[in-house]
């Protein structure tokens, strides 16, 4: 029955729908799905993959730096105020370096190779007073260098800016390299994107004791403070660092001039529930007998923290008022001691708190992406620059003052000489290279802000640029911030996060994310007022929260209220779409809080969406045609109001349809492409929407370790370590993201024919069986290049190292075979362990004066040759030798050592679905199974890898690639791509397979290569893109017999790099004890470790010594050799005894016969 009913209901539904569709199609304008994909490449073309970094840095160079200089433009002497220096203008020049007084232009690649900093001079125009005493003249100077600013690659000041592929190639630069990093002393450094809680916004949440609190982190150019208003035991208090203890909030209100309780209640709102909540606080205030502003200030004065050294008398008056004005809610400006805006702000905070108390839903979510801001390189650098600039000016002022203070000055005084340019250059360079942001002025001490750009693979580099590092430390055991937030949709990649402690905290930007930069508020304010916002100043407390009126809040600042908020918001949005206000301004109507939030601050994440009117996309086919014809660009879409950027908050006001087809009446926006919710790393995975989600996360981590091509200029780079694949391929099953980011040009893997079957037993635990012939033909072959460097040092006494001709005959000749006549290893030579690669000699005397330092005799030099220390038996090749001079003008010689490796048992491979495995065995081709067409697999994967991992995407990849090779067309597997045609459907793939004579399910009839008979199962076989990961047995395998020991304990060294021993640890020892293998323990822990023979005095129990001359043992405590026994002891034990003795503890040995 039930079934029948459902059926009929379904039928009715269908009929209804049919009718509806009919009606709609008659009335509504014709909908047709427009292929909007073309927008994406266009978007990435104008934006690049790391636009967020570039935008931020460009903003800093163009705007922020000028603001900073303008704000601190005057240096005036305190001694003689008429002497001053004024900065008129600031600009950044072209990247260059001054060598021996000659300015030489820099390219990034030159900096990488020569260990230079890619920096450009900061020019300022100055106006200053010269002359002494009587005669003072104003002078102007243009283009004075105050320091060097490291330049972000591809930013507006970079030489690569706007260059096409050919020009880039001429600069030695890879056209696919995204830029967005700095080159500091030859190393590439990227400033990670920092995630922070937004500034200047009220955030309602609870503290540890479940008390509701409203907190504001204020940040203005002048001050930074944190204000917390908290409800504790029904009373409301203010917490501020400048006060010694909590302060009742009514006290604060009174101190700000709100003497009447009624007004406060009115401001909060006349709802009796609110008044009830406020009552205890009011009573509290009355209990203290504080009724007037003066009394309140008196009261607060007691709570003010005493500064350790301050002029108590002067400071006493108005300290509290000063704090309330400048530090308490610093983001609300107080003009002419008008505290009213601040009072209203507090009232709004209180109201929101009370709402949250009455209704838990009104609580803010700290993890909500709209409450977060991303801090980028531009902002961080501007903080740093501001600090350094101010410091430099202070220093200059101090020197000027000391000079002016001198009674007699003879020379002409020139203030412009006292600008020391080194402090800014060095400060910027040091901070960028260490990553430690220590800005005392802003109480900022952050570590690890920069990282060396990961150049392991191209994707790793891209992934590194989009990485967002978290605000809090990773050790916290909370799940909230780690969880995937729904508001991250489209902004942050849901897959790409590391495993382990940073899981969920470190995130990656999605493909289309844009991070905003600051925008000027002033025009927006006046615009708001002219659009009908009623000024705050003109409103009474009562009017503030009138029904039907919404507060208008711009960047956390209450502007006023508006009676028709929706209309206001629409008007603002229209202006934005028309390009009258910035495209990244967000207008968000919050119905719950009855506010309209306008945001123009920097660090918000936003993304482009297609605008729809009543469910009809504004982009029509002719627009796309214009785009394809090259008439239109992405920006013109933006300008014409077809596309707009929405930030996380404004998304809440939008109804976004995934596809045009499912747009409804109320739809306001349509996604451009659904797969853009994924980031760069996750975009490589074909059919990720068919995989179990952790597998995609694993692949995101592994894609960064895959070997392949790293950049077009990979062979001219001199990185410490480069992994390359000899024959990289582009995947047969691609995705749109792969094409967009250029992974098809710089691939990191090979298409291997995979048979999913068990074979030989060497394929358990995810091991794979490989075909020897495939390896012979170049599958998985890789090149590892390592850098070795040597410096020909110059010493203080004028002597220097020298590099001399190698000896061709004699004792050392054999080790010098690879040296050229110039004493350096020649490129192309095979280098073996212990070979000398630089025949260097150093002078014996490097300090103190030497006669004729340049013409020292041969005897004054001692050899300091450098030898290659590679693994024994491995033959590497000298790939390149480069000579450059380093900062101290020493000759620096770099050698690249290349080693080509073919895969061996134990090397790690992985498909693109988080399915890693090591090579278990290598099998001759004739032993491997073959299909009816003679196809032999390159590798065999065990089917047990599938059931628990549920990587269906991998199976579809196999099918798709198989169809791809048979039909000669690359197939696609973009995420969520089936409806839009960016992923081939399995049905279509199967049809292709059948057309080419394969089974629809991809399983082939296979013959065993060993017996020659057919296998009793059809085997799932086809190509899968496999990555070779950087973990190779050759770098890891380690064994040792006897070898080096640590000097102090005489125990074997630790670690592979020191050829160390393998430790029998506590747990292993425990096992042996439990087993009773005492002799084994004795042997492992002493005989094979650090045996030592000691003389023990039986009488005093202390260690004696053996006198080899007299051949007697002696106890130095007893002064005789009567009671000496010889015994074996671990040396570490003897050491312990002696160390204890040094600490005045006497360990005594008691010996008994065994």
């Amino acid at each position: 029955m039930g079934v029948k009913e459902e059926d009929s209901a379904l039928l009715n539904d269908l009929q209804e729908q049919g009718l509806k569709i009919d009606k709609q199609s008659l009335a509504a304008p014709v909908k047709s799905a427009v292929d909007k994909f073309q927008l994406l490449p266009e978007f990435l073309k104008v934006r690049g993959l790391v636009k967020q970094h570039l935008d931020s840095f460009n903003y800093f160079l163009r705007t922020q730096i000028k603001k900073i200089v303008r704000a601190n433009d005057l240096i005036t002497s305190r001694v003689d105020p008429s002497i001053y220096l004024r900065y008129k203008d600031v600009r950044i020049g072209e990247p260059s370096i001054i060598i021996d007084g000659v300015t030489e232009k820099l390219t990034p690649h030159k900096c990488r190779l020569a260990d230079l900093t890619y920096a450009a001079p900061i020019y300022v125009n100055i106006e200053y007073i010269t002359g002494s005493h009587g005669s003072k003249t104003t002078q102007m100077k243009r283009d004075v260098i105050i320091g060097r600013m490291p330049i972000m690659l591809r930013s507006c000041c970079c030489v690569l800016y706007g260059k096409d592929e050919e020009e880039l190639a001429r600069c030695g630069e890879c056209p696919l390299d995204p830029g967005g990093y700095f080159v500091i002393k030859g190393t590439e450094k990227v400033i990670l994107i920092q995630e922070q809680l937004s500034k200047n916004r009220i955030i309602i949440d609870t503290d540890k004791k479940n008390c509701v609190q409203a907190s504001v982190t204020s940040s203005t150019e002048a001050t930074k403070s944190k204000t917390v208003i908290k409800m504790e035991k029904e009373k409301i208090y203010l917490y501020l660092n400048q006060f010694t203890s909590k302060v009742p909030i009514m006290m604060v209100m009174k101190a700000m001039g709100m003497e009447s309780d009624q007004e406060v209640v009115q401001m909060i709102g006349r709802d009796p529930r609110y008044s009830e909540l406020l009552l205890p606080s009011i009573e509290d205030c009355a209990k203290e007998a504080v009724y007037t502003q003066y009394q309140a200030l008196e009261y607060l004065e007691q709570k003010v923290k005493k500064l350790p050294y301050s002029n108590a008398l002067i400071e006493k008056e108005g300290r509290a008022l000063g704090i309330l004005r400048d530090i308490f809610l610093a983001n609300i400006p107080v003009q002419q001691d008008n505290f009213r805006p601040k009072c209203i702000y507090v009232a709004v905070m209180l109201r929101r708190m009370m709402e949250a108390i009455l209704n838990k839903d009104a609580m803010d979510d700290k993890d909500y992406a709209g409450n977060k801001r991303l801090e980028l390189s531009g902002q961080l650098l501007s903080l740093l620059f501001e600090d350094l600039f101010k410091t430099m000016n202070d220093e200059a002022r101090k020197t000027i003052d000391t000079i002016l203070a001198k009674p007699s000055r003879s020379s002409r005084f020139d203030i412009s000489q006292f600008i020391v340019k080194d402090s800014i250059t060095v400060g910027l360079e040091r901070t960028l290279s260490t990553g430690n942001w220590d800005v005392k002025r802003f109480r900022m001490h952050r570590k690890g802000m920069t990282q060396v750009v990961a150049r392991l693979s191209y994707i790793g580099t891209l992934g590194h640029m989009t990485k967002v590092s978290p605000q809090f430390e990773k050790s916290r055991k909370v799940s909230g911030p780690r969880a995937l937030q729904p508001s991250q949709w489209g902004m942050l990649c849901p897959c790409d996060t590391p495993e382990g402690e940073a899981c969920g905290l470190v995130k990656n930007l999605a493909l289309m994310t844009h991070v905003t930069t600051d925008e000027d508020e002033a025009p927006l304010v006046s615009l708001c007022y002219s659009l009908g916002v009623e000024d705050l100043e003109l409103l009474s407390g009562e009017e503030l929260h009138m029904p039907n009126s919404y507060l208008i809040i711009l960047n956390g600042l209450i502007l006023g209220k508006h009676r028709r908020p929706q209309r206001f918001a629409n008007a603002m949005r229209k202006l934005r779409r028309a390009g009258k206000i910035g495209e990244f301004v967000s207008i968000f109507v919050n119905e719950k809080q009855r506010c309209v939030y306008i945001a123009s601050d920097g660090g918000r994440v936003c993304r482009p969406l297609v605008i729809a009117d009543k469910g009809v996309s504004r982009i029509k086919e002719h627009h796309m045609k214009e785009l394809r014809d090259g008439v239109r660009t992405f920006d013109s879409f933006l300008k014409d109001g077809l596309i707009e950027y929405l930030d996380v908050n404004e998304e809440n006001n939008a109804l976004i349809a995934l596809y045009e087809e499912n747009a409804k009446e109320g739809t306001t926006h349509i996604e451009i492409e659904p797969f853009t919710i994924l980031g760069v790393c996750a975009g490589l995975i074909p059919y990720p929407h068919h995989n179990q989600s952790p597998r995609n996360t694993y692949q995101c981590a592994m894609g960064k370790q895959a070997m392949g091509n790293i950049a077009y200029n990979e062979l001219t780079r001199m990185d410490t370590l480069i992994y390359l694949l000899v024959y990289p391929q582009r995947p047969l099953l691609t995705t749109r993201t792969i094409e967009l980011v250029g992974y098809d040009k710089l691939g990191a893997g090979q298409n291997a024919t995979v048979a999913v079957m068990s074979y030989s037993g060497y394929d358990i635990e995810d091991a794979i069986v490989m075909n020897k012939s495939s390896l012979d033909r170049g599958f998985g072959r890789c090149i590892v290049m390592k850098k070795m460097a040597a410096i020909s040092q110059k010493y203080e006494n004028g002597t220097s190292d020298r590099i001399i001709r190698p000896q061709r005959e004699g004792y050392e000749a054999e080790r010098m075979q690879i040296l050229d006549d110039d004493g350096l290893a020649a490129p192309g030579e095979i280098i073996r362990p212990h070979d000398i690669y630089i025949n260097k000699e150093s002078p014996t005397i490097t300090r103190g004066p030497v006669t004729s330092p340049m013409g020292l005799p041969d005897s004054a030099y001692k050899p300091s040759r450098q030898t290659y220390k590679g693994p024994e038996g491995e033959t590497a090749v000298v790939d390149r030798v480069s000579l450059c001079s380093d900062k101290n003008n020493n000759l620096c010689i770099k050698f690249m050592i290349r080693h080509t490796r073919r895969p061996e048992v134990g090397d790690k491979f992985s498909s693109r679905h988080g399915q890693k495995g090591v090579c278990g065995t290598i099998v001759q081709q004739e032993d491997l199974p073959f299909s009816e067409r003679g196809i032999c697999p390159d590798l065999i994967m065990n089917p047990h890898g599938f059931p628990s991992r549920m990587t269906v995407g991998k199976m579809i990849e196999l099918l798709g690639s198989k169809a791809g090779v048979s039909s000669g067309r690359f197939h696609y597997g973009s995420a969520f791509g089936e409806p839009s045609g960016h992923a081939d459907r399995v049905e279509a793939i199967s049809e292709t397979l059948v057309k080419h004579g394969f089974s629809y399910n991809g399983k082939d009839f296979i013959y065993s290569g060993i017996t020659g008979e057919p296998l009793q199962a059809y085997i799932f076989m086809g190509p899968i893109y496999y990555q070779k990961l950087k973990h190779m047995v050759l770098d890891k395998m380690h064994a040792r017999g006897s070898g080096p020991r640590v000097m102090i304990t005489r125990q074997p060294t630790e670690g592979r790099s020191r050829n160390g021993g393998l430790r029998v640890g506590e747990m292993e020892r425990d096992c042996l004890i439990a087993y009773g293998a005492s002799m084994l323990i004795y042997e492992r822990l002493m005989i094979s470790s650090d045996p030592f023979e000691v003389q023990v005095c039986r009488k005093c129990g202390l260690l004696g010594y053996y006198n080899f001359k007299l051949k007697t043992a002696n106890c130095s405590t007893c002064k005789n050799g009567d009671n000496i026994s010889t015994m074996k002891l671990p040396y570490a034990c003897k050491l312990l005894f002696q160390e204890l003795q040094a600490m005045n503890i006497v360990p005594r040995l008691k010996l008994t016969e065994a």
């Binding site: 000899v726 033909r777 004739e926 067409r933 629809y1000 017996t1011 199962a1017």
Partner: protein, 377 residues
Amino acid sequence: MEEQKTPKIPVWDLPDVPKGKLPPHLELQRTRVLCTSDAPTHTENIRYSGAYASMGVDNSLRLGHFRDNFRVEVITLTEDDMEFDMIGIDASLANAFRRILIAELPTMAIEKVLIANNTSVIQDEVLAHRLGLVPLKVDPRLFEYMSENDVPNEKNTIVFKLHSRCERGSSRIKVLSNELQWLPRGSEFTLSTEKPAVDPTSRPRTYTSFNCSQDSLPEFSNNPIGPKHDDIMIAKLGPGQEIELEAHAVKGMGKTHAKWSPVATAWYRMLPEVVLLQEIEGEKAEELVKKCPVKVFDIEDIGKGRKRATVARPRSCTLCRECIRGDDWDKHVALRRVKDHFIFTIESTGALHPEVLFTEAVKILEDKCERVITELS
């Protein structure tokens, strides 16, 4: 066919099986691989001589029987490829030929590369690897293996020279395999230990010690040695780059390295047998014909406008199993493989012709058998 109509009949009522002949269903299992939609069954060969002794059938291998029934039919033969049928042979023997072809037939391939100059972007060892994989057109039977302490001589080594340069100012060039130049007199590079010639008449010692020029040998006089294909890309050179090297080819086997394998691949498949278990007529026949992507089936007019499906080209069946997919198609069509009929394909890399390769493989197997016999006796 038989297994469907086996109603429950007590054992003693079964008709007597004629002695000396297997019942049809056993015969089918013995001689055919049944390819059902889920898995192939009866893939194994029944080797035990007494497997059917209870039925009076001798399953032992009989040489005379084999000699009478064994046939080889060449289907296609070109310079590089050959397809032939091997009928009346066991899978293990066919496989032995396949394995020998891939791994144990010797050829000549470049093994040592002496690089005098390489300023191209391609690394020395990668270049050498690529050169090694270039198939050479030379009969390996005319050469000897070079063992560890042999000196390279005209009997065991072929020397090629490659000297290519891209002039400055010109555009990029490709270095193709046709630039590999055969040096019949052996290496031209003098040993590094050699002192500059004191006596101008005596030839300086080089990396090879040829007693005579290879082109004076009758085999090579009209038939210069070179790569099989002239258009194999070895490297690309940019302006100002140069490659100068000497490549020494020696004799080797595919099991050491795939470059010595004389075949691109060699494989066989069992002869497909497609059987219609029932008459398929009318629309269903049309459907069947349409189903098969390689057109195994055809339609036959059986008069009165009725159409019947027939199996026209069973040989082209790729076992995509479309014809037995879905519904109960497997009741109508049976896909089988004939266990003792192999369609053998050899794709030669060019050193020897495929038919020569096969005869060589047979010789090697013969040698192996003889070795076994001598070891045993």
